[in-house]
Amino acid sequence: MSDLGRRLRHARAPGEEAAFRRAHPLALALVRAAPSRRRRRRRALRMLAPVLAALLVAGLLLTSAGADVRSWISDAVTTSKPEPVRPQTLPGGGRLLTAGRDGLFVRTAQGPHRIFGDVGEAAWSPRGLFVAVTRGIELIVVSPRGERRWSLHHRAPIRHPAWAPIGYQIAYLSGGGVHLVDGDGSDDARLAAADGAAPVWRPARSHSQLTYARGRTVVLSDTIDRRVLFATRAARRPLALSWSADGKRLLVVERDRIQLLNQFGARLHTSHAPAGTHNVTGMFARTGRDWTLVRGQGASSRLLLVNGQDTVKVLELAGRVDGVTYSPRGDWLALGVGRSVWLVRPGYHAGLRGVHTMPAHGRLMDWAP
């Protein structure tokens, strides 16, 4: 080996030690999760009879959610199987909202119940007292029991309803613009041109600031005096926007990169998706500055939990993730995967013990106290 080779072999690259600490348990978990060939053969012989019986029962009992889970287990870097949630539980507590053609469902610890008919999207009000739902060109606000409170309609479809943190206004997209309406259905007005990503409110009770995308530009506006506070250009159309709990970091997810902006719109960090992968969505945790990123790779997805600058890759799953939301206390993360909801504990290490899954009754929307 050349002298240069020896020097390079003994040098430490930036981030190497931290990366080693993260990658090492994953590698060991992989070998624990994947039984060796010999062990598999022995186990297969021993288990053949009960397995055949179990297959008959499973054929009757397993849901599509179970099917998704099984396909993931074979590739997982985890040590235990995700457990289907029992009908009468909801890890993380609160009320989980899913919406689809089957209707609008609220799932609590008492199980799921349908509160409204076919809807497009839905969002809880900040304290979970109301739900804003879209149905084509209609925006409807209903109580958690499904009683219609008020509605409005536009000529163009309405998408992405978002309640302000103080609950005073609802923002939504329609007809190439972002609109605002008061929580009681009055004063519906267009704020500005906007499209693409769902608008997000900057979390602070002392001001009323909304972030939205206009083409490739990310804009923060004051909704009271309509001033534009910043407009930062992205390389591509943003797919998702999310503020940190302290309102000082904005995550901008584009297809091939993510950016972290500060409250003034200045870029703090940029990170590109590895070749062959693309970003799907991302969001900050409800507290602190941890955030989550979902990347797609073909028909599979990868969930990355990011703590500051450290990425902890936790799971890869067969299937596409179409929604992410944190539990009210922020200790659980719900992922919409096909017709299932996966419940993951971000605080756990990469082994992901205790992942749960359950049928979604539509697409995952929101999680309220």
Binding site: M1, S2, L4, G5, R7, L8, R9, A11, R12, A13, P14, G15, E16, A19, F20, R22, A23, H24, P25, L26, A27, L28, L30, V31, R32, A34, P35, S36, R37, R38, R39, V77, R233, A234, A235, D256, R257, Q259, R267, H269, T270, S271, H272, P274, A275, G276, T311, K313
Partner: protein, 187 residues
């Protein structure tokens, strides 16, 4: 999980040649023994990460590449020809992934007007604690990547030519120019 290298099986034959220990580790990994994976990881992952970092110069991307490369190698271990050493096989997987990532990034750089803020600035690279690593990291792509492949991962110029889809003569001249630039920078 911490594997005690003094008590684990085959891999622990401290006085045995490295190639024996590696074969023992591969066999152990195939049996599902964490000690085997641990040995392979400690032995080969750091160089894989370092090479990936030298090629893409981005910590997050390097971590992804090294980690995915190692997990892909472990996942395909049953198809691995155990008569051959594990290191070069892993290094080839990592090198291909890193080169693909660097190429994808280069394409984006050509078409995108945005600055690549994720890449470290020259001043940051110059501030690395290891002067040799810093000097290599500061080389342009066309010299840095062949240098990393040759001197860190141990590929021959012919193998590098194949990996980079370049004529062998071009690889040799880039290696030469890179080494000249390094010796200038380090003296």
């Amino acid at each position: 999980m911490v594997v005690d290298a003094d008590t684990a099986p085959v891999v622990l034959l401290r006085n045995a040649p490295r190639s024996w220990r590696e074969r023992g580790a591969v066999r152990a990994a195939l049996r599902g023994d964490a000690a085997g994976v641990d040995w392979l990881f400690r032995e080969h992952w750091p160089a894989a990460y370092r090479a990936a970092w030298l090629i893409v110069r981005d910590e997050a991307a390097a971590e992804d590449i090294a980690q995915e490369g190692f997990l892909a190698a472990l996942g395909a271990l049953e198809r691995f020809d155990r008569a051959r050493p594990f290191g070069p096989w892993l290094r080839t997987i990592v090198a291909r992934r890193a080169i693909d990532a660097a190429r994808a990034r280069a394409v984006r750089r050509e078409v995108g007007a945005e600055p690549l803020n994720a890449l470290p600035a020259r001043e940051e690279l110059a501030g690395l604690p290891d002067d040799v690593l810093a000097a290599v990291a500061l080389l342009p792509d066309e010299q840095r990547i062949p240098i990393a492949l040759r001197h860190l991962l141990g590929f021959t110029p012919g193998e590098i030519a194949e990996l980079l889809d370049l004529p062998r003569g071009t690889v040799n001249s880039r290696l030469r120019r890179g080494l000249d630039a390094l010796s200038e920078a380090l003296t």
